[in-house]
């Protein structure tokens, strides 16, 4: 961007920067549309959410500049430090925090609230990058192993997983913020990039599919018999050796375990989570006025947008509050209703473009730390994108997570800004490392 090595923009990827600014600006316009009412028409009115968002955007700009000002080595050096501090903060918030909407996950600072769980994202990504970039640590690349090698080979993978699981458990169990917690699962993609066998991912994916099938199919016995038949017929195609026999039996038992465990897991979910799964899968009698209301109204808002949308500020569904949480988690409804299929596609493509750009940037890093961190950022952003859009169009259960750079909220905007700009700084620094 700037040719002067001393400029803070030196080496900064301008494409990333432009897409970031575009997304934040479009988000702000849509927040204005979502909470628009005739009495408060001034977009700078700070008593309204769009006015506040402008303050958050200003803060984000300051944060971005600050990150770019600080030496890149700072982030590498203090990775574990950030992680430790934020783990502690996330525990403390349960005791010292202020209760908002039933969960104790906010620190009250003056009139504003800060959610430490949001900032856990960048800290966890940094810490994992730091751990995995250690020269001696290799993510196990093997899938089929003898038992005695398992612990030795997978030790580091397990430790990496612990980096993910620790915040996940704290945020889920102590703060009861499912949405914020589940995001960390996305970092498994980073482990895959760093060598984790694809077998695990496929196995995990199959288990997830089986879980869904087991929820939809009511005849569990029939399902297990079907699985047994599939397992038996597998021998028609593979070599009949003892090892294969054991392998097939193990896979079958695991699958049966998933199927049998499904109802157990489902029954131990919280009521609203059960309902969200029911709504998604169309199980039972979903009352569109109660549990199905959110998703149905979201779909109505988006679906009524048509190809070109109803026009800016013309959306009847979002403007008149039919869609709950339409400025935060359901901000995409405003886009869908007022900008139609065209606008929705533009927003989704911009987000996807940013993510793919990050993967491209990550791959050009010479430092393992930067690459791993870059993948972490991409994975977290994509997870947010996929869950957030997916829930508004009824393809994912309702999990309360924001649309990156778009949704209203200071904590989420700032956390995404920090997450992104640390990588932008690392990327800008990549040439300097050589010297």
């Amino acid at each position: 961007m700037a040719r002067n090595e001393n400029s803070i923009f030196y080496g900064v990827d301008r494409i990333t920067l432009i897409v970031y600014v575009l997304l934040v600006f479009m988000g702000w316009l849509n927040i204005y549309a979502a909470v628009y009412d005739e009495e408060h028409q001034n977009i700078f009115d700070t008593t309204q959410k769009y006015g506040k968002q402008l303050i958050w955007i200003g803060g984000a700009a300051v944060i971005a500049f600050s990150i770019l000002l600080i030496d890149a080595n700072f982030y590498t050096a203090f990775s574990y430090g950030f992680y430790g501090v934020l783990i502690v903060a996330n525990i403390l918030v349960v005791f010292l925090g202020r209760e908002i909407k039933g969960s104790k996950s906010w620190f009250g600072i003056g009139g504003f609230g800060v959610q430490p769980a949001e900032f856990m994202k960048f800290a966890t990504t940094l810490a994992m990058a730091k751990f995995l970039s250690n020269q001696n640590i290799v993510v196990s690349q093997q899938f089929r192993l003898r038992l005695k090698d398992l612990i030795k080979n997978y030790k580091n993978t397990f430790i990496a997983l612990l980096f993910i699981l620790l915040p996940l458990v704290i945020i889920k169990k102590l703060q009861d913020e499912t949405g914020l917690a589940i995001v960390f699962v996305a970092l498994i993609i980073v482990l895959y990039r760093e060598g984790l066998s694809v077998g695990f991912l496929i196995f995990g994916l199959l288990a997830a599919i089986l879980f869904v099938v087991a929820l939809i199919v009511t005849n569990i016995t029939g399902l297990i018999i079907t699985l047994a038949v599939i397992a038996a017929s597998a021998f028609l195609f593979i070599k009949r050796s003892r090892a294969n026999l054991i392998g097939v039996i193990v896979v079958f038992l695991l699958a049966a375990g998933v199927v049998l465990g499904t109802n157990y897991v489902y029954n131990h979910l919280e009521e609203h989570q059960k309902v969200r799964i029911d709504v998604l899968l169309g199980r039972g009698n979903v009352d569109l006025k109660k549990e199905g209301y959110n998703v149905n109204q979201a779909k109505i808002a988006i679906g009524s947008g048509g190809f070109f949308g109803k026009g800016y500020l013309q959306g009847t569904q979002t403007k008149y509050d039919f869609v709950p949480e339409q400025d935060t988690d359901f901000i995409f409804c405003t886009v869908g209703e007022e900008w139609g299929f065209v606008g929705s596609t533009v927003v989704i493509f911009l987000e996807l473009f940013l993510i793919l750009r990050l993967i491209f940037l990550a791959e050009r890093q010479r430092s393992d730390f930067s690459r791993i961190y870059g993948y972490g950022v991409a994975a977290i952003l994509f997870f947010h994108l996929a869950i957030n859009i997916g829930m508004t169009i009824g393809l994912m259960p309702v999990i309360g997570i924001p649309l990156p750079f778009f949704s209203y909220g200071g904590s989420s905007l700032w956390s995404f800004t920090i997450l992104l700009f640390i990588f932008v700084k690392l990327d800008a620094n990549r040439l300097l490392i050589l010297r």
Binding site: E38, Q141, Q142, I189, Y192, R193, E194, G195, V198, N296, Q297, K299, I300, A301, I302, G303, S304, G305, G306, F307, T316, Q317, Y320, D321, F322, G336, E337, G340, F341, S344, T345, I348, F349, L352, I355, L356, I359, A362, E363, Y375, A378, F382, L385, A386, I389, G390, I393, G394, L395
Partner: protein, 628 residues
Amino acid sequence: MSINSQQLSNRKLIIGGFFCLIIIIYLCRLFYIQVIDIQYKLDAEKNAFRYMTEYPVRGYIYDRKGKLLVFNAPSYDLMVIPRETKGCDTMGVCEVLQITKQDYLKRMKKACQAPNSPRKESIFEKQMSAQTYAALQEKLYRFKGFFVQKRTVRKYPRPIAAHLLGYVGEVSKEQAEKDPYYKEGDYIGITGLERSYEDALRGKKGTQIAITDVHNKVIGRYMDGKYDTLAIAGKPLYCSIDRDLQEYGEKLLVNKKGAIVAIEPSTGEILCLISGPAYDPNLLVGGKERSKNFTKLYYDSLNRPLFNRALTAMYPPGSIFKLIDALIAQQDGLINRSTVYPCAMGYPPMGGKPKCHAHGGGKNLPGSVAASCNSYYAYVFREIVDQRKYPNFIDGYNHWRDMVKTFGPGTRLGTDLPYDKPGNVPSVEYYNKVFGKNGWRSNTIVSLGIGQAELTLVPLQMANVVASIANRGYYYTPHSVKGVGIDKHLDKKFKEKHYVGVQDPTAYLNVIDGMQGALEPGGTAFTNRLKDIVVCGKTGTAQNPHGDDHAVFLAFAPRDNPKIAIACIVENAGFGNTWSAPIVTLMIEKYLKGKTDRPETEKRMLEGDLITKNNLKELAKTKRPVKN
């Protein structure tokens, strides 16, 4: 089995490809719900739009001279949206409407249940009185969720023509389901002109589209009213009724059961259509009052005031039917002006049955009409049925029946008023059933010739018969409207001449001479002769199984270029000349001169009470078994 860094780097493609795949699935889904599936657009409209109906003004109804028969008065319905009643002064509402808390809750429950909805407005109190409305208006701001919808109800400047005009009432559930124009609670014409001309009178409802928020609060108008439609007022209806004649006729028929129908022969326009006893049409408007009054009228089984006798009461026509026999027989060449048949206080071939009265010897054709000789028409009827032209009397009878039907009896005339009855001209099949095949001859049914037996006509048909004679051979379908709307459009079926079976001018001349003779010395209605107008009439005294004979009279006047053809029947009144002929001739005077010159006759008719006596008889009849 180690993987080198290049292979690991290639995983970027898998990861990127996976991301793209998910996004493509999402875009397909978005395309489906945004572009292909229209259900969401419909749901969105249901969500945010409230369609508010603007009710049009129902068309006024005028008489043939432009005098007002029906107009509208404002009425106020109290509407409620149950969801919005939080914080409403419930007791205040009860107090103003003078209902109990239980009533309130009951109505509120009804407003919440299907097909109503707590989110939508429904009627809480129908057609409030002006006082209630005034009291309510002051406090309305405290009654959250309630609002007043202005509608109109019918008003009648004079309490006349209730049967003809019909009434307006709430649309039934079935109708509302069948016709998308109507919603439950809408008004619709139920009988009379209000029903026949509903489409023209009702106008077109307008719609205002309001935008509501999630709390169903009205935020504003959608697109500043760009898609709103204005209510279009109903078209005015120009009746062929003469208001003064109608009113006068109703007065004459007070305390009598019966009907008067007058037609302008040259157009087929109905000048008056009266059914007695009548009722004040103003009784059947308004909310609570209306249903109370309706119940009262409906259950008055002695007088049956809601029963429109002019269109639906099927009476034996009696002697007036002789006119048709005379016309048919002349057309067939069986009799002429000088044909004379003997009369011996009855029909000689059958031992003096049917009986006749003393009218001084055998009459020629006009004389037989004027004196109404039963014997003469027994002969004539049998001549027609047994005439040689036909191989057997069945064909002869069918010929007679076909000819009769061309005058209107036996079929619905197709007038513009709903629910008219066809009357009855018995068929061959009917008699075969009653008497057995070959079990009957012309003499078996000879009383048909004098308008008795199974023969029945509704009063409108009687008027149509006399209009056809006045026109010397044709009629226009009787109709009660001159035109609809400002351009006075009239259905072309009412402009079409219907020719009756008899077209021989001499036949008409002879019969009309006889009808004129009826009001001259020796005629049956001589006492009702008018000094200055030549009236051609025919009396009838219809025997019936219900009690005393019905008095029938029909007439047209003046003889040349007739302006009015009129039929009157008064139930259980006896001889046609005593009650019906005076009424008819008074009506003719009133219509042609605007006044009457016979105060005594008028007084006798206005004050005559035939109902009380007959009703007492009727009551006694039904009570007797109880006393035993």
